[in-house]
Each structure stands twice: as structure tokens, then as C-alpha cells.
């Protein structure tokens, strides 16, 4: 039983990483209706920016704030310059655009900062949290930040005018335009916010997985899986999905014989698909009814 509790705790700790990423994925999905394959690379690039700022002598929090602002602006710029012209193109062409963006960011980061693994500091320290060997203060801090972020987003979307406008623009663009919402800028704003959330995720994850251009590959896959499991229309679902995927992955690695590190991912994905077969819109997603 103790083994079980410990594994669940460890799963929650890694789950916090996935939850962060899943939140960013859902944000952009809400705004543009596509899964952004380059999300992880964008987060990685932001994290490198903050690392560079700290190398230049800024404090952690100063670098944190500047990176947030940079990511927000960069997200809007990417939407305006690269993806707005593709708004009318077929969906699959847009997906190809994300893959292109992925290649560009990954390779530029490799050229600027090379592929050696770098240490990344944590503001929370890394001593054991409340005497537990499994969760460090950093991981506890990460869970805390994820929950705060989720609450913040909830209030933003539920209780502010601009949050309401963004929801309207995402769900029924035509009607939103008729009541005077600038839907095109709402999409850009969605990109900006998603990129900023992604950069927070990147900066929280970097102390755990270390900083390098390919650090997000694995994390993004789990982030997607978490977002899909929780339901792509629900930020709350994404966070729950993130924790569940973390726990799944750890328990599968512990209890199913013959599952090494290699098979953890396929098994976690297989579990998620079995859930989806029963609940096709994800655990917390809304069921969308189509008019024929």
C-alpha cells in the first residue's frame, strides 16, 4: 500500500508538468480550434530566453516577467505574420504550418544555444517537501503555480468582458462578429496567452528535465494526451487530465511486469484511448452536436 501511495504521489508530481503543458494546449485550441504542434518548441524557446537573461545577470523573477511579456508579444506576432494568412486555407495545411514552425524554432534554438544540456534554476528550492522523499519543494511549487494559473484563467474567462468576448469568438465566430467583437484579434490574443502559459510551463519544467532544444518533445506528447483525455474544451479537464496521465504512467511502470521506461508511453496512450472509446469527448469535454 505504501508503494502505491508513493507512486501516486510521484505521479502527481510529474503530472503537474503535463498539466501545465495541457493547459497551454487547451488555451490555443479554444482560440483557434487546432492543436498546435509547435507549442512545446515555443515554450522551449521562451525558457532559453529567460535562461539567457539570467546569464546576463538578471534575477529569476525579473527574467520571469520579461520572458512572459516577450512570449505574449511573440505569440501574437507569430499569429499575425505566419498564421493569419492561412486562416482560409484547409485545416491540414495549417497543421503542416505548425510542423514547419516546429522545425524552424527547434533548429534556430540549436544554432543559438547549441544542444548541450544546461542546468536551470528553481525559485522554490529542491529540498524534500514536508519531509516526503518523493515530492520536492520545486514540484510542490509547480503544482501550486498550475492551480493558481487555472484559477486565474477561470476568473478571466468567466468574469471579464474580454474573457467573454474570447469565448464567444471561439464558439460562434459569425454571431460574435455581429455583436461587434473583433474575432481576428481575439484569436491573436489567444495565441499570446497560450504562448505565455507555455513559457511558464517551460520555466517550471526546465529544472526537472534540464534545458536543451529537444526538452519538450516528450512533455508535449503527454501534454496533448492529457488535454485530449480531459476534454479539449475544458481547461479544468486539461489539468485533471495532466495529473491522471502522470499517475497512469507511474502506476503502469510499477505494476505491469516487463514495462520499462520504453513502454511507459505506449501504455499510457493505450489507456487514454480506452478511456476515449468510452467517452469520445474526453472526461470533461462538452459533447458537440452537429447540424446536418
Amino acid at each position: 500500500m505504501e508503494l502505491f501511495t508513493n507512486q501516486v504521489l510521484a505521479g502527481i508530481a510529474t503530472g503537474a508538468i503535463y498539466a501545465c503543458m495541457a493547459l497551454a494546449v487547451v488555451m490555443i485550441y479554444q482560440a483557434i480550434d487546432h492543436l498546435n504542434f509547435a507549442q512545446g518548441e515555443m515554450a522551449m524557446f521562451s525558457t532559453f530566453i529567460s535562461w539567457q537573461l539570467m546569464q546576463w545577470g538578471l534575477s529569476y523573477w525579473a527574467a520571469f516577467i520579461i520572458t512572459l511579456a516577450f512570449s505574449f508579444v511573440a505569440g501574437i506576432a507569430i499569429e499575425r505574420i505566419l498564421f493569419k494568412p492561412l486562416a482560409k486555407a484547409p485545416v491540414l495545411t495549417n497543421v503542416a504550418g505548425f510542423i514547419a514552425l516546429f522545425a524552424i524554432i527547434n533548429s534556430s534554438a540549436g544554432l543559438i544555444w547549441d544542444f548541450t544540456i544546461k542546468q536551470y534554476p528553481t525559485p522554490f528550492g529542491s529540498s524534500p517537501f514536508l519531509g516526503s522523499q518523493l515530492i520536492s519543494t520545486h514540484q510542490a511549487g509547480m503544482i501550486g503555480v498550475t492551480v493558481l494559473l487555472l484559477l486565474g484563467l477561470y476568473f478571466f474567462f468567466q468574469y471579464t468582458r474580454i474573457g467573454l468576448a474570447m469565448r464567444a469568438a471561439a464558439s460562434v465566430p459569425e454571431s460574435a462578429r455581429l455583436v461587434g467583437i473583433n474575432t481576428s484579434w481575439m484569436i491573436a490574443l489567444g495565441w499570446g496567452m497560450a504562448t505565455a502559459i507555455g513559457s511558464i510551463a517551460g520555466m517550471l519544467i526546465a529544472p526537472v528535465v534540464f534545458l536543451e532544444p529537444n526538452m519538450m518533445g516528450g512533455v508535449l506528447i503527454y501534454g496533448f494526451a492529457a488535454a485530449v483525455l480531459g476534454g479539449l474544451s475544458s481547461p479544468f479537464g486539461a489539468v485533471v487530465g495532466g495529473f491522471l496521465v502522470g499517475i497512469f504512467e507511474n502506476l503502469a511502470g510499477t505494476y505491469i511486469p516487463g514495462v520499462g521506461n520504453e513502454l511507459k508511453l505506449p501504455i499510457a496512450l493505450a489507456l487514454i484511448i480506452s478511456v476515449l472509446v468510452v467517452k469520445p469527448a474526453g472526461l470533461f469535454g462538452r459533447h458537440i452536436v452537429k447540424r446536418v
Binding site: 492543436l35 505566419l82 494568412p85 492561412l86 482560409k88 486555407a89 484547409p90 485545416v91 491540414l92 495545411t93 497543421v95 503542416a96 504550418g97 510542423i99 514547419a100 514552425l101 516546429f102 522545425a103 524552424i104 527547434n106 533548429s107 534556430s108 540549436g110 544554432l111 464558439s171 460562434v172 459569425e174 506528447i221 496533448f224 494526451a225 485530449v228 479539449l232 520504453e262 513502454l263 508511453l265 505506449p266 496512450l269 493505450a270 487514454i272 484511448i273 476515449l276 472509446v277 469520445p280 462538452r286 459533447h287 458537440i288 452536436v289 452537429k290 447540424r291 446536418v292
Partner: protein, 339 residues
Amino acid sequence: MSAAEEVVAEGHEAVEAVPKRAMTLGTGTSLLVLAVLLLVPVFVKNFIIFQMTMLLIYGLAVLALNILTGGSGQFSLGQSAFYAVGAYTSAVLMEYFNVNYALTIPISATVCFGFGYLFGKPALRLSGVYLALATFALATAMPQLLKLNFLEHWTGGVQGLVVTKPDAPFGLPMSQDMWLYYFTLIVTLAIYIFSVNLLRSRSGRAFMAIRDNEIAASSMGVNVALYKTLAFGVSAGITGVAGSLGAIAVQFVAPDSYTITLAISLFLGMVVGGVGWLPGSFVGAAFIIFVPNMAESISKGLSGAVFGVLLFLVIYLVPHGARQIAIMGQQFAAKLRRN
């Protein structure tokens, strides 16, 4: 309807409707392309022949995805898994059972058809990004499954298997590469003709009806579950043939040649060639084979970025892929004729 549900009006479809006549080339153009494909190998070096063989092979794999996505409107990131199954089926049959290479191709087509059909069953309930995730899971699992201990006796584990390249039969005066090219060309032609006819048949019309509107198709009496799994099976079967040919041409199979990167390349090939336009598959295959090499030669350190920029250029200029160029060419020719 419960309060949690919402109704969305029909927006733009995930895959555009391509009328079936627009899915192929005219007779004249087809014959011209065929003549070029037949004659060029006589005049070029072995390495170029090898690259042309790979072009046909990847073209087949893209074509298979095109039938699935452009034909029946289902999206798959798992094509690399079917490709791997095809490649391994051929490799194992040739190396352990001494089966003739040509005979392994129908066998791997059958095996992959079955595999794809069975995979299509649970995937029936999923669509859009959910289906993408499921197929993606298949693609990430496949290299790991091939490395499993109890399969190592057959698959050779991480090391993979070496495949012998066949000689030209009947003492024909041809290099191995050239014979393999013509062999691949024959198989490709057969499958291309099969695909064109499939999409023009009753089943093809059923695929397209499902792609355009699943609910409407089912109320017209199309057996949606049957045709969706059938599309998966056919697509997997053709991808398996491509995998077999690939294994014979490269003379080597290893789990890490069939990762998700391959599936993503095939997807890019489909988009660049034009979703739902069968001849475009080969244009797309040329893109995924030659453009990364080109990017490498422009800048070694930034090859990924150069590739990304080139890809962006292509999708800006022709968001509908090579099909758009073909349509423009056709209109231009019609205008010339009128003057």
C-alpha cells in the same frame, strides 16, 4: 438536448470535398509521365535510379494516406506503423523462410490489410484530433514493440535485419538497382490503377459520402462502420506494400527507421501534393525526399529552419498543394486553345 450540449452550424469541413473526376490526371498526361518514368533510368546513374525507386515507394505510402484522408476523411498519424509491419513481414519471410521477394509483397499487403482493418474497429468511435492521437499512439508504440525481447528472435531487436537485394531475373542485362526500379514501377502502376478504380467504384463513392457528411451518408444507406474500417484496411495494405518495397530497396530494416518522423513526413507529402489528388502523392513524395537534402546543402546548422521556411513558402503559395498548380495549368491550357 441537455444544457451541456451545444449546436454548431456546419463550418468548413476538415477535408474539402474533391469531386472524383478531379482526383486523377487526363489520359494524355498520364501516358507522358509513364513514358518519362520508363525511359529516364536508362540514361542516369545507379544512385539516381535508387532515389527514383524511393520516390515511387514513398509516393505509394502517401497515396495510401491520401485514400484514407482525401477519400474517406479519416486522419492518421500512424502510417509509419503499417509501413513497419510491411517492411518486417517481407524481411522476415525473405531471410528466415527463403520466400521469393516478389511473393512477399502480396503477403505483406494481406497482413497489413488485416492489421489496419482491426485497428480501424476501435478507432471507429474516434474522429478528428482524437483519431489523430490514437493513430499517433500506434506510431510511437511500433518501434518499441519491434524491440520487445520475445520478438527479438524474429526481428533482430535493435540491430534489425539485413535484406538481400534481388538480381534481375531471366538473365536480363540490368543492374540490381535498375531491375528493382522497374519492379517497383510495375507494382506502383498496378496499385495506382487499383486506387483510381477503387475511388470511382461504389466503395469509393461511399468513402466520399462519409467524408463529406457522415450522418447524411448513413441515412442514405451507406454502412459507415464497414466503409470506414475498409478504408483503414486498404490504406494499411498499400502502405504495407510500400514498406516491403522499401525494405528490399534499402536492404535493411530496423525499429528506429519507422518512428513517428516517418508518419509526419508522409503527412507533409500528402499536404504538399494536395489532399485528395492521387497523382499529387508522387509530387509530395518528391518534396519529402529532396527538400530536406536541399535544406541541408543550403545550411548545415540551420537545415531544420530552412526546411521549415521552404514548407511555409509552399503552403503560402499553394495552400491546396500541387493540385492547385495542376488546375491552374489546365485553365491556362484551355485559354491558349480558345485563342
